[in-house]
Symmetry: C2
Subunit: 328 residues, 2 copies
């Protein structure tokens, strides 16, 4: 955890000043006259987290020589959309904790979590309509739609042990990689033009985000709760069959497949991730998934090759290496 | 019900052609490659309902001589935002039916209802970013924020039997009237300019929407489920203390107040609206609330006085009369 923190700090260093501005904007945006709303947004502000998506907007701007006065606002908007998805995701997953702060839906209830997420989306879109260019509104509205479709698809593919890797990646990409991709593209392109470089940076963000999600899926199965800082085993409990399990399942005999399905579906089981580890050797699945993440990160780094050397580019390259080592 | 349907048809008659276009746009917007999403949006399409908000956008355009080719798209966006709030509202209220079609959260689950609402919001914003003017994106992002704040405030003021009428109206206005108001303002102003007329039409929409909500609150207490077409008594079950009850409570003695609070709060009570009617005479509260709605509608009609006579203006005046008689 400490190592991860140091790594994130290093990553953000080239845009530290811009990130201060991002946090000022976020604080102002989450401030409301309504005391009820302020109480809640204050709580969400504590999620804080790594703000990797916002940092990538600024880094992409710097690395492509495209930074503007409005990049901090764009980064804040991306971060607010991410916060909205986190709040709504807590309803989806029935997760018990996130970053060791009680989830919104535990502290209040589902009603409030739905409304707070809606409020964050609305704030994000409202801020985007105040920018000088419409590119941000356009790209992020479209990204939010993709993100929702990805989540809906994922929800309907629960307990699908025979999903293809292609479908798994399309769904994981839509729900996670799309916002990374949009953030990097906006960094490189906002307020407009610069389409070729934008496409390269979008691909960088997509590959990074997808790799991030794959590592996340691995940690959910074999991570340590204290280190990762959120409830693990949630995917198994929710019926999400992720890449490591798909890999192991495809190579298992029928008896073992049946036991894997049981761990996912039998009622009243506690700690299904541990049971799954006892039931089958997840090792080859984890290894395969991590190798796939490594492949994606290699491709991500290649997308930066055309950019001039700079601290921002170096930080983005470091980010792509560092995803594989993450234990947060 | 039949009478109400005839009245709505009459109301929409001057913009019938535009409403066909609205429904074409909605059908196209709710269409998705994802089979899972299409299944759900098809279901939402069946809510359909009165589409009063969309009709008011078109009527406001016609009545102010401000109709453009893009008004149908603006009306569709307003309707999609309304649909999104309905879907998310079903999570909030635990309502069992809406327009006799199973609610999204009954047919699927809370997860899907959250995502489908998010999808509808995202679609609405995405479409608004494609319009030639940014006025629609700006006004509706801001309206959505207000709407969420209103809902959050309402949620935190549950069981507040001493709320002032002013607070009740501010909250009801934010959660319901704001979208009517924005729709009418956009009709009168889109793509821009026309601010004075826009302000009058915004006030028309606000008063109409607030009156609509007050009548809705009365029907929830004393309506007939078969006629209204949705679960009644939901406000009492949810702890929402509405204008009629606030009025009666303020004039009740302590013994009666205590009984009113019991009906709201004691566990395991069925049909709390009926119990409330048995516990106290809601008559004066209903009468007071309906009179307040009448006052608002009178003010709404005055806002149209400066407009030239037209079928659209006549339909809007009829709408303002008709809200008081509604039993749907």
């Amino acid at each position: 955890m400490r190592r991860a923190r140091a790594a994130v700090a290093e990553l953000i260093a080239p845009v530290a000043e811009g990130m201060e501005r991002v946090n000022e904007i976020l604080a102002a945006q989450l401030d409301e006259d309504s005391p009820a709303v302020r109480d809640m947004t204050g709580h969400v502000g504590r999620f804080h987290g790594k703000q990797l998506r916002a940092a990538l907007v600024l880094l992409s701007g710097d690395a492509t020589g495209n930074s503007t006065d409005e990049h901090a606002a764009v980064a804040s908007i991306v971060e607010m959309i991410h916060l909205a998805t986190l709040v709504h995701d807590d309803i989806l997953d029935g997760a018990e904790k996130r970053r060791r702060v009680a989830c919104v839906n535990q502290r209040w209830n589902n009603q409030i979590a739905v409304l707070l997420g809606d409020f964050l989306y609305a704030r994000a879109f409202a801020l985007s309509t105040e920018l000088s260019s419409r590119l941000c509104s356009r790209l992020l509205a479209e990204t939010t739609r993709r993100l929702c479709v990805g989540e809906i698809e994922q929800s309907t593919r629960r307990y699908d042990f025979e999903m293809s890797q292609e479908d798994y990646e399309a769904i994981s990409g839509a729900k996670t990689a799309s916002l990374y991709s949009a953030g990097c593209e906006l960094g490189a392109r906002y307020p407009g033009g610069n389409e070729e470089v934008g496409a390269e940076l979008a691909a960088f963000g997509w590959n990074l985000g997808l790799a991030f999600q794959i590592v996340d899926d691995c940690l959910d199965l074999v991570g340590t709760e204290d280190v990762v800082g959120k409830t693990l085993g949630a995917d198994v409990a929710d019926g999400k069959v992720t890449l490591p399990v798909l890999y192991v399942y495809a190579r298992a005999d029928e008896a073992q497949r049946s036991r894997i399905r049981d761990v996912y579906t039998l009622p009243d089981l506690e700690d299904r991730a541990r049971l799954l580890r006892e039931e089958c050797d997840l090792g080859p699945g984890i290894e395969y998934a991590m190798a796939r993440a490594g492949e994606l990160l290699l491709d991500a780094r290649k997308r930066l090759a055309g950019l001039p050397e700079s601290p921002a580019r170096a930080a983005m390259e470091a980010a792509a290496e560092f995803v594989l080592d993450r234990n947060w």
